[in-house]
Amino acid sequence: MTTTETAASARTVPDTRGLRRRGRLSDGVNWPLTALAAVLALTVLIPLYLTVVTALKTPDQLGGSGFELPTRVRLQNFSDAWNLTNFPRALLNSAIVTVGAVVLTILSNSLVAYAIARNLHKRFFKFLYYFFVAALFVPFPIIMLPATKETALLGLDNPVGLFLLYTVYGLSFNVFVYTAFIRSIPRELEEAATMDGASTWGIFRRIIFPLLTPMNATVGILTCLWAWNDFLLPLVILSDPATRTLPLAQYVFQSQFNTNYTVAFASYLMALAPLLLVYLFAQRWVISGVMRGSIK
């Protein structure tokens, strides 16, 4: 009895060990790969580190590769950059454009997509769908020159015009993903609501829009990243310097004061910080949002 037991356990011990070694894919942490990931992470972290330390230096500490830690911290760089770029104003402008673009995009694009998704059998809506989606292929530089003329003519060469443009230029992609998602929502829900006397608008507001929450998050995140970071569209559309967004302020600042590296880096850091901070708190949703957008 005891001998067979020990014999059996002696046989199973090396077996499990072998399994564990082979089963790198299924069990246990792969430390060499973790180390590799850590090394690769440096390619992301080093430029960020450089931005931070340069922003904290005095101009005379700039010699060398730039990666040395500051010997004396100079916070004045930040207040200089704050004044030179008119930072609060640029931050406010970026916030207006981004919030406007995100809110208007989510509300309007989901609405159109709902109308299209439920009427694809009708010629008008089918045309609308292909008309919008075809615009996915039109690169922005094509529209750039005439759109600038037109927005100036319509008095839209300001932040309001800018977020309208983001709403319109995002429509192609958004209608595509929203429509695919809405078509997967069973119609029985809406039919039941119609029996209870709900209108089409009521159905959208009470049933469809809440069900779209994951898609709204995806569209919202992608629109936010785009509107906040975009440079070319504000560059050509905005006419009043007081309406500059953050990237545009960096551009003007850089071309006028390009010799002053430490203040410039303080300015870059302040321009990058808001979205970076938001991202650090919301990264889980951002990543799952972007992934969801890709699967549809």
Binding site: A37, A41, S108, P139, F140, P141, L145, Y268
Partner: protein, 287 residues
């Protein structure tokens, strides 16, 4: 018309009006002005296809297409190879998996213009110093000031910023592959390379197609990173098509001419995307 159909029209028509006003009208007026000698101000005359003919004799325009293709193809290949590798790494059983995923996505939430300025400093100051101490000749001076190497700097920064997005898309793809496939292949004694070529890659074929098309289309429109790194220089060696359209159209009084360039550019992008989609999708089916 029933009540609900009416509501559906009301939902769609405002967006359609806005879209036509701010998208279709500019596209159509742009196409119209490509047939004129309009400078962007003052009077204009109808010149027919003159602008289109001049484009093919314009060295600066041809050079910008050459640069754009060279840059976009190189960047697309680099981004996709590295992104697939990083995605597989992040999909493996590594410690702090979520944290690494979060970290690797950071470049994508940052404005590429500003990132370009930071890298400009690295290329102009830090790397030459490294090159000097290692005695590497071509690295001893700023590569951005070198006519033959500046484009590589732009590729590097563009790749740094956009790999993150491709990684996320590839991760989404990798997660659709059932683990049993690898277990079965492992029992059959398939090597890691064999598992990659026979399971991983075929299973994420659709994601590979999406990534290649999106990356190439995106890089063909490069603008921000070039402004921040080289401003199109040295000379005009790193001028992209977008940049030529922007400069000629807004600053050079070439509105009509650059619209002709834009129309050609639109056709090129559509053609490239469609060819890419067709060939890649045929490959997908072959696996």
């Amino acid at each position: 018309m029933t009540h609900s159909t009416k509501a559906f029209y009301w939902m769609a028509v405002p967006a359609l009006v806005l879209f036509v006003t701010l998208h279709t009208v500019p596209v159509v007026t742009g196409m119209f002005f490509s047939l004129t000698d309009y400078a962007g101000y003052g009077k204009w005359n109808f010149v027919g296809l003159q602008n289109y003919l001049s484009l093919f004799k314009d060295d600066r325009v041809l050079a910008s297409y050459g640069f754009t293709f060279l840059f976009a193809i190189t960047a697309t290949v680099i981004v996709n190879v590295l992104a697939l590798g990083v995605a597989m790494l992040l999909n493996a059983k590594i410690k702090f998996q979520t944290a690494f995923r979060g970290l690797f996505f950071i470049p994508n939430v940052l404005a590429i213009l500003v990132i370009g300025y930071v890298f400009n400093f690295i290329f102009s100051n830090s790397l030459p110093l490294l090159g000097q101490s290692l005695g590497i000749d071509w690295l001893s001076t700023s590569i951005l000031a070198n006519k033959d190497l500046a484009w590589l700097g732009i590729v590097a920064v563009s790749a740094w910023q956009s790999i993150a997005f491709s990684v996320i898309l590839y991760l989404a793809g990798l997660q659709t592959i059932p683990a049993e496939l690898y277990e079965a292949a492992g029992l059959d004694g398939a090597s890691y390379w064999r598992q990659f070529s026979s399971i991983t890659f075929p299973m994420i074929g659709a994601f590979f197609t999406i990534n290649m098309v999106l990356a190439l289309k995106g890089f063909m429109q490069a603008f921000d990173q070039i402004v921040a790194l080289t401003g199109g220089g040295p000379g005009t060696s790193t001028e992209s098509v977008s940049m030529v359209i922007f400069r000629g159209g807004f600053q050079g009084g070439e509105f009509g001419y650059q619209m002709a360039n834009s129309v050609v550019y639109l056709l090129v992008i559509v053609a490239v995307s469609l060819i890419q989609l067709r060939t890649l999708q045929r490959k997908e089916a072959d696996f």
